[in-house]
Structure formats: structure tokens, C-alpha cells
Symmetry: C2
Subunit: 423 residues, 2 copies
């Protein structure tokens, strides 16, 4: 890459780092006022934002997008109103910065407080989705972090217009460099960015698995990953089968494109003959395709429920669609072992009236969120009461599961003494 | 590398992963009993351990070590007694696994608990230090994690003997594969290991900066880094100068090889003429070399305190030795800006009687641990009351500052419902 481009990206990161130091000690009121100004600016700027968006939609890059991706890129008045409203909601949330996480006085009199503080500079790498630009910028601002946004090239004009509004809103002592857009969609610029580990403290890629893997493999900055959800519903021998049917249908069909949607159904052999025809009919009525192992296929066939044979790959696939893989298992042990082998450790559920079986499942299934008698679809920052969500981490370090404002923070130890020295 | 070697390392990681699932739900009593057995086995195995260590010490690899590194590799009866005692101390610590971190019941009746659980499989990459083998294995075991140890080649026989004892101690239902040693010191095996991100969940390198950088740059597994400490002591205009002298001498000279030792002294211009000659004499009496900017050099020269001129590199160097860089600053603002630019964000202290200045310093210095009127040397898991320490993280994600048993854990969300589905 040209050294000009490297200099451009490095300069941007240096400004972000300087801004992060100022933002870290900004008052809650200053941050909230900026967010409310941003919401008002969005409300007043529909024409400019829609014009920028129209420019993006008319570009050759956007022409290559799928219909679904094009829809996600598209802004309209209703979506802009919703965007401004979401900014006001974040302004109304409690500020995570400054919370006392631990406090102790040591025998030598040292007073130690562990305080929640912003991480510093966060890089967000994402696809052509203008709402992600606002969501991420706003959550970073509220949590006192500077951010560097690098969105999809198909959304460049829209993002530039949105970031201009954000920077306009950053008055009242807040540094304008707190939110910056990488001013090029050149991939070499991204590769440079991902090596600036002395200036950027965390990278969050948001998008498909290949984008996340690209970032993880090329970054020397710690990455918080939001990989796929290959989520399981296991219907135990002691399940309330009416409840199991409701949960399975909800987990699969209420929003198949979500990472917390079920992709896999396991049914205990003891209830398979009774349960599978009923749940199969209910799922098919929701347009769900069933991909079955031999045992479940035989039961569905004799009940004349449409299905196909699963391939081995189906058992570990995130379909994100109206498709469900179905297997019969012989025991709770087999269910737990199957899930620990084939799931993505995102969200897995047991349906059972047997508390002993449930407790074993909850303890032994090694996933970020485990459910007893509830739909996997609840894995979500809003459903958890976090008020906001920057994603659902599939990592185990720092954040695991839904990430809200607190997960955009780290901590520092503040120690007050009276002249103590170490012996 | 040969595919045999790749298979060997992958097989080891697969066994570690299987062991981690069993270990995650092991009882506290089973883990503690294994640790106590290990301590007894160490006590009973001095001849075998010392023989293995003698073999390492006689190797050509060990002949190339510095005297200090050779000393760290060397075992003797006193060190083995101490090692066994440290294992018993970890057995006596509270088990971090299962702690309820948050608990809430949502309006829809879902009961959500955030529980502390082991991370899973942890890779430890370290130098030729047999005590690290025991320390890390024991802390991983206590926190329910399987671990894969890859120590320095100069220590291979000693490590093999120690890991054999650990595996002997892992009875009572605990999986022997919970602690494994990479059975080769081939660097290609390490490179393979660092890419096994579906089997290994976290890598902790322990050693010098080049080792840590090598691991961070070659790992696709999240790494928790323990980089250098370029720690500052800032003596404010309002400092109690007798206290400041005690703190500066302790921070620098009580153990210069520690990462929490001070490397940098900043003195406010208002007190420099009075303070520098006194602290200079005290430091020189402790054999500390002073590397000075022009202002501090002039003051020390007129007081006839030996010193040299600092180079720019000295202001960001971790000396780990009886060397201190000294500068005069014009203000609190200048001190904060200097520290935020030149320190490694590890541990930095202000000495002052001015509470307003202190609060600004504690808030605005962006370091993992900040001190008011205390020595930087207290940044340590034991001093913080953690009872154990696997290192001092210089990262911001997951762990920052001293890492104890709790920092070797992640969490899971355990959700209990009564058939809730998402609307």
C-alpha cells in the first residue's frame, strides 16, 4: 500500500487515541446532551441523509448486493425516525463509567477500588448497514470510548453523512474526533488499521462469518467476535410436549435470520414417536424444512410429514433460514455430548419437567447461554434488560453472550494510600 | 512441519478439550484433594525431580543461559518445599467457579443468572522456569480449566517430571488430560498450537516481551498479554517530600526486576530544587543510576549528585535494573500528558497532599493501576488480596492488572423459564 494511505490511517488512530483520553472523563450529562443533539440532527436532516443514501443505492457496488442486503442499506423516513429514537433511548440509559466494581481496604491501609472505565479506542468493522454506524457510534460514545468506523463500501456516502451529523453533535467540550469514519474503503487501509495495536484497544467486527474471520486473522488488536449461532433445542423424555412444541416452533420460526434461532432439534427416543409428528406438522405449517436422521425420518414418514434426509454437514450448520435439522437421541448424556460437539456454544435449550435432568443440562452444556423451558430466541441484550446491545459475543474472554454498554468498558484500580511502601 | 507433529499437537488439544468439559463440573473438594495430593507427591519426589533438573542443567541448551536464567531453572530442596507449600495455599483458596455474578427475574418471568465458569482450555507458553509449570497448572486446575503447558526447551526434563506428578495426582474422577505438556520443544509445534482456536480458548504467554509478541502475532486464539511496566512516580508541587522520597526509593529499588518497579520519576518544577538533591542521594545510595533531562541534571550537578544525561529512549524504557530516568515537569497537566504518552499504562503514582490534584491524576491517567501516595510496587495479586496471581495483564479486555483465579474464569447465562416464547 502507499505510505500516504498508511499515514492517513495512522493519523486517524492517533486522533482517536487523543480523543479517547478526553472522552474518558467526560460527564454523563455532556455525553447525553450530545446524543440528544444527534437525535435532533437526524430528525432535521432527512433530505440530506436520504440523498446520500440514494447516491449509495445508485452506485455500481450497491447493484451487486442481494435484495436482503440492499434492503438493509436502504434508509427511509420511518427508519430515520426509528434511528433517532434509538439514540434517545441510549441517552436515557445509565452511564456505565465510574461504577465501583470492588472496594477493599488492605491490612496495610491501602484503599483499593476497582472502577469501571472506558476501554479507550474501539474499531468497528461492518457491512453496508447505516443503522450499525449510528448504533455503534452511540454505544461507544455513551460508554466513553472513541471509535473508528469502517463500514461496507456500498454505504460510504450514507456513512459519511451520518458521521458528519455525529461530529456536529459533539460540542460542549466533547472531542469531534471521538467518532471517525475511515475515509477510504481500500482494503489495504483496513489491514493497516488492524495492526495499530498501540493506538486501538479493541476491534469488533459485525457481519458474516467470513468478515469476522478476516478481521480475527489479520488483527494484532484484541478482537471480540460475534460468530454464528448453531443453537439446539433438546426435548427430553420428561418434557411437557405441548410446551416443547411451542418452544421449538418459536425458537426456529419466529425469526430464522437471527443468530439465536434454533437450527437443530434433538428428541429423546422415549417421546420421539409421540412428539415428532406433532411438532413436524407445526413446523411445516410455518414453512420449515425438516432435515432428518434415519430415526426421525422414519417417524415423520409414517405420519406423512414432509421431510428430507440430513447430510452430516446439516448437523453443524447455521441455516439462518426456514430449515431445521432433526435427530433422535437415546439419552440426556447423548444430548449433552451432541450439543457440546456440534453446537457453536451460543444458546442451547432443554425442555423437560425433570429438574435433575435440567440441572445437569444447564451445568454440563458448555454454551454462553443455556435455557430450561424457554426459547433460545431470548439471547439478546434487550431481553436481558441491558437496554442496548452491540452484539452477542461468541468469545469467552471479556464478553460472552449479549454485549451491552458495560461490556464496552474495562476497569482500572484506583489505590489511595498514606505513604505505604512495600517491604 | 510434518503432519505427524501437527497430528500430535491437535490430538493433545482434543484431549484437553474433552478433559475441560469434565473438569468444569468437578467438585471443589475433588480439585482441592488433587492439589493436596500433588503437594505431597512433590514432597516425596525430591530425588527424581532434582535428577531431572540436573539433566536439564547439564544440557547444552542450559549452558547457553545467562546466570540469572540458569538460577531460575535450578531446583533445590528449599525451592521444592516452597513449591509444595504454594500448591497447598492454592488448595486453601475459595473456588471461583459457580459464583453468581448477576441474578434477575425479567418481567416475562425468565430467571436469569450469570454464573462464573471456567474458560475451558488454556495454553501457557513460558520460558525455562519450573515454578511456572506448577503455578500455572495449579491455578488452572483450581479454576476448572484444562491447560496445555509449553515451557522453555532448557527445562524439558524437569517439566516432564513435574507434569508426571500432576497427572498422578489427578485421580478421584479428575481427567489426567487436564494438564498436559507439549511433548516437543519444536517451534513448529507451537505455531500449530496457536492456530487451534476451536479447541483452545485462551493463550497466556509468560516471559519477556519478545516471547509475548511472538505469541500475540502468531495466535488466532485470544491472548492475554503481560507486557512491560514502564511505571512512573510523579512528585507534585504539593507533595510531602519526605514521603515522596520514601516512595520513589521503594518504587525503584525494592525490586528493580519487577514489572511494577518505577522506571521514571517526574518532579514538579516548584519542588524540584528542594526534592531532587535529597532523593538523588538516597537513590544513589541504593546504587541507582540517574538518567536526567537538562533541568534535573542541573539541579543534581549543583548538589554534586552523580547522574548522566538521558537519551530520548530512556523515557520509555523498562530498565528492570538499578536505573531511573528523571524529568522536571511544569504542571500537573504536563505530568498527566507525559505519563499518558510515555508510560506502558501499567502502574503510575502521584505523591501529593493536594486532593484535587490527586483526583485529577487518578481519573485522567489511563493506566491499569493508579496510586495516590503509595508505591507502584503494590501492583500484585497477593498485595490485592487475590491469594494467587497468574500474572499482571497489560491488556484492557477480560483482565487488566493482577490476574487471580477469578480472571481465569468466564461466565455463562443460565436461564430458567416456564415455557416462555419470544413474541
Amino acid at each position: 500500500m502507499s505510505s500516504d494511505l498508511a499515514q492517513l490511517v495512522t493519523g486517524l488512530a492517533q486522533r482517536a487515541r487523543a480523543a479517547s483520553l478526553a472522552l474518558a472523563t467526560a460527564s454523563t450529562e455532556a455525553k447525553n446532551a450530545a446524543l440528544r443533539r444527534l437525535a435532533d440532527l437526524i430528525d432535521r436532516s432527512h433530505p440530506a441523509l436520504l440523498a446520500a443514501n440514494a447516491q449509495d443505492l445508485a452506485s455500481p457496488e450497491a447493484a451487486a448486493l442481494t435484495a436482503a442486503a440492499r434492503d438493509r442499506l436502504t434508509l427511509n423516513a420511518a427508519r430515520l425516525l426509528h434511528l433517532a429514537e434509538s439514540v434517545r433511548e441510549v441517552a436515557a440509559l445509565p452511564d456505565p463509567v465510574g461504577d465501583v466494581l470492588e472496594e477493599t481496604t488492605r491490612p496495610n491501609g491501602l484503599h483499593i477500588r476497582k472502577l469501571r472505565v472506558p476501554i479507550g479506542v474501539i474499531g468497528i468493522i461492518y457491512e453496508a448497514r447505516p443503522n450499525v454506524t449510528i448504533d455503534c457510534a452511540v454505544l461507544c460514545l455513551k460508554s466513553g470510548n472513541a471509535c473508528i468506523l469502517r463500514g461496507g463500501k456500498e454505504c460510504f456516502q450514507t456513512n459519511a453523512a451520518l458521521v458528519q451529523l455525529i461530529q456536529q453533535a459533539l460540542t460542549g467540550g466533547l472531542p469531534a474526533d471521538a467518532v471517525q469514519l475511515v475515509p477510504t474503503t481500500d482494503r489495504a487501509a483496513l489491514l493497516t488499521l488492524l495492526k495499530l495495536d498501540t493506538l486501538i484497544h479493541c476491534v469488533i467486527p459485525r457481519g458474516g462469518e467470513s468478515l469476522i474471520r478476516f478481521v480475527a486473522e489479520n488483527s494484532t488488536i484484541p478482537v471480540i467476535k460475534h460468530y454464528k449461532g448453531v443453537c439446539f433445542v433438546y426435548v427430553d423424555a420428561a418434557a411437557d410436549l405441548a410446551m416443547a412444541e411451542r418452544l421449538a416452533v418459536n425458537a426456529k420460526a419466529s425469526r430464522p435470520s437471527a443468530c439465536n434461532a434454533a437450527e437443530q432439534l434433538l428428541v429423546h427416543r422415549a417421546v420421539a414417536a409421540q412428539f415428532l409428528p406433532a411438532v413436524g406438522r407445526a413446523l411445516v405449517a410455518q414453512k420449515v424444512q425438516l432435515r432428518c436422521d434415519a430415526a426421525s425420518a422414519a417417524l415423520l414418514a409414517s405420519a406423512q410429514v414432509p421431510h428430507t434426509a440430513a447430510t452430516p454437514a446439516d448437523y453443524t450448520t447455521e441455516f439462518l433460514d426456514y430449515v431445521l435439522a432433526v435427530r433422535v437421541v437415546d439419552s440426556l448424556d447423548a444430548a449433552i455430548a451432541t450439543i457440546n460437539r456440534d453446537s457453536s456454544n451460543h444458546s442451547d435449550a432443554i425442555v423437560t419437567a425433570d429438574a435433575v435432568a435440567a440441572r445437569r443440562f444447564l451445568a454440563e452444556v458448555d454454551s454462553a447461554t443455556v435455557y430450561w423451558n424457554a426459547s433460545t430466541r431470548f439471547t439478546d441484550g434487550f431481553e436481558f434488560g441491558y437496554g442496548a446491545e452491540i452484539g452477542i459475543s461468541t468469545d469467552r474472554l471479556h464478553a460472552r453472550g449479549p454485549m451491552g454498554l458495560r461490556e464496552l468498558c474495562t476497569h482500572k484500580f484506583v489505590i489511595e494510600g498514606t505513604g505505604q511502601v512495600r517491604g
